[in-house]
Amino acid sequence: MKALILVGGFGTRLRPLTLSVPKPLVDFGNKPMILHQIEALKEVGVTEVVLAINYQPEVMLNFLKDFENKLDIKITCSQETEPLGTAGPLALAREKLIHGSGDPFFVLNSDVISEYPFAQLIKFHKSHGGEATIMVTKVDEPSKYGVVVMEEGTGKVERFVEKPKIFVGNKINAGIYLLNPSVLDRIQLKPTSIEKEVFPKIADERKLYAMVLPGFWMDIGQPRDYITGLRLFLDSLRKKASVKLASGPHILGNVLIHESAVIGEGCLIGPDVSIGPGCVVEAGVRLSRCTVMRGVRIKKHACISSSIIGWHSTVGQWARVENMTILGEDVHVCDEIYSNGGVVLPHKEIKSSILKPEIVM
């Protein structure tokens, strides 16, 4: 089977992290974002993944070769020369997605994290015999999104309503689709929206079905949602009684610590923390609701909450970092500094406190 992952453009909403690496390679739960999706696809028998991007693939290709070898799956890039919207990229990658077997192919939005219940999706798709299946997720405030109105029993999609003013349903498009090759015949190689142009047509023909996504769902394309997403992700690990989660007297709630990270005495870590490879957390450090990326050093007595600490950064002794502080790659927060929501671009030293949210270039 094949899969297409819509990676899109420059990931500007995840800056400053995306100033250092392309968005699919930003780590989430100690693994590049896109690797979560590729591994789940591999597990259901996908043999080739095509990444639809609209920037230079060179930076990605080295990393991709590495994944290809480790996972034994083929990964290629399909590069748009002009923006093709959410459906156009499928037409661009047509040759790679159709291979005569008639098997349906997956399409994923790269910013989405979930449990990726692809086996269930395949089963449902085969059972209803329709042309396309989309996964939907329940949200509290449906009018912020495009709502999918569907028949409860069969899952057949009646219509899409964009940002409805009155309540029509609470399920929105989760950005995970399983499509028959015939869907490609409906898409021309030009800027096209899959939600506004392609799916409504298939729905009118009563050939579009929706499946409610079991488990968690999050679009982690921006820092605030990234942190919420981490909580949901770690929570799902807990539900599966994963051995990956850390435990011990210094651990509170769900915490992921890479085996090569070093944690000092007297720390209190958690809830909802992930600590990446090669990190050093010195004695007496308090971490909660944060992501600490590869190679970071957190010095003694520091306190970090609700923040993202970028690769190879350091946080000084007694520093306090909180409230959506995002440190890019190689940022050094000096001892005793306070950062309240500072967003710091790569290769900076923070020598004076940031008292209210501000971008430091």
Binding site: G9, P16, D330, V343, H347, M361
Partner: protein, 415 residues
């Protein structure tokens, strides 16, 4: 030393990528030394000034950018000047003197009698020929270019005291807290090869001090500054300052303009200074027009030959338009740098701004800065490929590359 034996090598320190984040967001796309001022890369201006040095045999650019960033520029400028220009890459920052010292073999290859040392991010008239003449008459090992500034601003720089008659450097101190002098170091020097022995002495002293590791706790308190690695040698603090008052170093004062180009705001100001200098040195580079066949030009304006400007537009003062830019009908540009491949649509207005490569400015939109070159958000900067939609107003803001502005913004940094 007979003048037939005279050979001069020029060295320009260009810095590197992790230093100087102050030049962001422009430095996210181009190394600062290659950012254009008055239509030419920043480093081109000191290189061009070296043309006036008699017996110039070689120009070296020293920095820690990747070689490939400078490869194209260096080969084309060598060809144009008919003087070899080479880029030498430091593996890591060694300080201004450390960098010079680590490449001494290259620099001394042609057995130069004099070495001109320039900092790439200095904007001035580079009176090198006159300065060389003065240096020879002083007979010291080095001559520094100096300029008088206001007492308030002096503390940002290296302050120095010079003998009024002999012009000898008597005292030098970097960024002092209290007022020492309003005469400051411009970052332009002429040395004889003896400078290398002076740098070597500092290395030796450092080694000896490291060997006597018995630092008393009081001494440890005194060295409050970050401990520098032994091979990081700063020219001003570590070499020149100790040599002051020993009849080795002299000064040469310039009365022309002088600025440091540390921020994008200052690059806009310095572009203007170089444009006004063109009036004397290369007036053929400046544009002219009166609205009939060509656009109305007021003040000093540079327009690249491949750029297209509609005759109904009014351009200037202090505007620089780079290659393949397209300026539409009725556009007004004041005090701005328009980079390559920019498209500015009808009736738009751009004031005190830098518009990044491949950006587009929509019809009737207004991109404006206050014009305070030193303030953090004093001018508006649009990074590469920023699209400002029709009728949108952008004031005192910085927009990072690849963004589209659909609504007006003020005083904002947009990542």
């Amino acid at each position: 030393m007979g003048s037939s034996e005279e050979r001069v090598v020029a060295v320009i320190m260009v810095g590197g990528p992790t230093k100087g984040t102050r030049f962001r967001p422009l430095s996210l796309n181009v190394p600062k030394p290659l950012f254009p001022l008055a239509g030419q890369p920043m480093v081109h201006h000191p290189i061009s000034a070296c043309r006036n040095i008699p017996n110039l045999v070689q120009i070296y650019l020293i920095g820690f950018y990747e070689e490939r960033e400078f490869a194209l520029y260096v080969s084309s400028i060598s060809h144009e000047l008919r003087v070899p220009v080479r880029y030498l890459r430091e593996d890591k920052p060694h300080g201004s003197a450390g960098g010079l010292y680590s490449f001494r073999d290259h620099i001394m290859e042609e057995s130069p009698s004099h070495i001109v040392l320039l900092n790439c991010d200095v904007c001035c008239s580079f009176p090198l020929e006159a300065m060389l003449g003065a240096h020879k008459s002083y007979g010291g090992i080095g001559t520094m270019l100096v300029i008088k500034v206001s007492a308030e601003s002096a503390s940002q720089f290296g302050e120095l005291v010079a003998d009024l008659e002999t012009k000898e450097l008597l005292h030098y101190t970097e960024k002092p807290e209290t007022f020492v002098s309003n005469l400051i170091n411009c970052g332009v020097y002429i040395f004889t090869p003896e400078i290398f022995s002076a740098i070597e002495d500092v290395f030796k002293q450092r080694k000896e001090r490291a060997n006597l590791r018995r630092v008393s706790s009081f001494e440890a308190l005194l060295s409050a500054t970050k401990a520098l690695p032994a091979d990081f040698v700063r020219l001003d603090q570590d070499i020149l300052s100790p040599l002051a008052g020993k009849k080795q170093l002299y000064t040469f004062e310039t009365l022309d303009f002088w600025e440091q180009i540390k921020t994008p705001g200052m690059s806009l100001r310095c572009s203007g200074l170089y444009l006004s200098q063109y009036r004397h040195t290369s007036p053929q580079l400046l544009a002219s027009g009166d609205g009939t066949k060509k656009a109305t030009i007021t003040g000093d304006v540079y327009i690249h030959p491949s750029a297209k400007v509609h005759p109904s537009a009014k351009i200037g003062p202090n505007v620089s338009i780079s290659a393949n830019a397209r300026i539409g009908a009725g556009v007004r540009l004041i005090s701005c740098i328009i980079l390559d491949d920019v498209e500015i649509m009808e009736n738009a207005v751009v004031i005190h701004s830098i518009v990044g490569w491949k950006s587009t400015i929509g019809k009737w939109s207004r991109v404006q800065g206050e014009g305070d070159y030193n303030a953090k958000l004093g001018i508006t900067i649009l990074g590469e490929a920023v699209d400002v939609e029709d009728e949108v107003v952008v004031i005192n803001s910085v927009v990072l590359p690849n963004k589209t502005l659909t609504v007006s913004v003020q005083e904002e940094i947009i990542l």
